[in-house]
Symmetry: C2
Subunit: 246 residues, 2 copies
DNA sequence: ACCTGAACACCGTTCAAGT
DNA sequence: ACCTGAACACCGTTCAAGT
């Protein structure tokens, strides 16, 4: 069952060092294997030894391509964020006003978060390159185009910075909470599993038990929209203050 | 210098098993030692073996009082959140209207976050008891009093739930970002330490380098206030929709 | 040039044994 | 009753050695 279809000829066996199916290791291949492993089993399962096993290699080989585990995690975050660069709905510059620009950017990051729910906390918690770069908009290129975009659309320099900070806080809070309910499949299950203790515990909390259906209901998408609208409304004021001074 | 003031009598030495200075182990003592260790050296430094050393005990002894490391981390989070219960500025029920109530609650959680910047990410990322409980307002008692408070102040049931979700998203985003700049002392320093590469990198990003002072400036407190005001404004609308229907 | 074996200093956790 | 020694199965990382 193992080698019936491969049938290596004598020539292949002697001239080629590695078997046909074995792709050589590379930084890119390592990082995407790491992302796949995190997506499947969570960040806690990503160890150098286990990742090596996934790539049919001993763990030590990875150190030829990456300085260490910390750098691997940074590379994972960068690679995930880079997915936005190929998202056709996310534009680099405002073309239909700043509100449309921020809408596209926000939804682009949300799509990335939902595509990698188990990896997104990493995007949020990894230290950034500089303390004034804020997750999840933590990439220098995106920050630059963000500032440039808002300035071209009539924001003052101070206003653009205010907008950057408000926008990142909003995205971080919402996406982290949305994603945590998605990735909770393994972790949060066992606590409230024995239904008896669960219901009895809640007897002390009448409002929680009464509103539990609402609390549990998934309106993440519309809450994201509403809150984004609220933020854009506030930023309209920020932009207006700019205009008054000009 | 070690035992000049203790002077154990022969009776003490023979009847008492443990030396005078040695407090017996307890779950409470373990948890507070864990918090102290995290506050000082960060979550990554908290290992069972190292915590044992801090308590002058072998790591295995800890398992008499706690099922394992995961449970220890949960206990750490619960204990930190409980600090709010003894905060005189945080009230259980609204006494001067719901806006005052939410202001006090928000500032209470912010004080806790700022008191334990290295531990707060734990509060944010640990799985909650149920998927519909959202950090940082993740404690059943606080959620119950939150809902009860808003309902008494004229919110509809749906409105109270909307308020809970909006309030938690807001707190999580803001406090996580505020706290990450405080705890970044060790982690984020080395990347941009060699000032040459730093400045040259930023040459490609003119707006970032121009606005860097503003980006780096700490307005966390006033941003928190402004954003909290914005949220309370939105919630006023939510409450108003309640009234219209009533 | 690329990978590995062996080693080091760490982990969390269990369990029989010590006092 | 409370703590520990020894052991197990894991870590990340280094470096001399293999092909």
């Amino acid at each position: 069952m193992s080698d019936s279809t491969e049938q290596p000829t004598d020539a292949e066996a002697t001239t080629m060092v590695a078997p046909v199916g074995r792709v050589p290791l590379s930084r890119e291949r390592i990082v995407s294997a790491a992302i796949a492993l995190i997506d499947e089993r969570g960040v806690a399962s990503l160890s150098m030894r286990r990742l090596g096993k996934e790539l049919d290699v001993e763990a030590m080989s990875l150190y030829r391509y990456l300085p260490g585990r910390e750098d691997l995690l940074n590379a994972v975050v960068d690679t995930i964020i880079d997915e936005m660069y190929v998202d056709p709905d996310v534009v680099i510059e405002p073309s239909n006003g700043w509100q449309d620009y921020l809408q596209r950017l926000a939804h682009g990051i949300r799509r990335v978060a939902l595509a990698h729910p188990k990896a997104f906390p990493l995007v949020a918690s990894r230290p950034t390159e500089a303390p004034w770069l804020r997750p999840p908009l933590r990439d220098l290129r995106w920050v630059e185009s963000f500032l440039n975009g808002l300035l071209r659309e009539g924001f003052s320099e101070e206003g653009a910075v205010v907008a950057y900070k408000a926008f990142t806080s909003f995205l971080l809070g919402h996406l982290l909470l949305e994603v945590s309910t998605l990735g909770a499949d393994l972790t949060a299950l066992d606590v409230f599993n024995d239904d008896e203790s669960h219901e009895s515990d809640l007897a002390e909390f009448p409002w929680i038990s009464r509103l539990r259906p609402w609390l549990a209901e998934d309106h993440a998408a519309s809450e994201f929209e509403d809150s984004l609208e609220g933020l854009l409304g506030r930023l309209t004021v920020v932009r207006g203050e700019t205009r008054e001074r000009a």
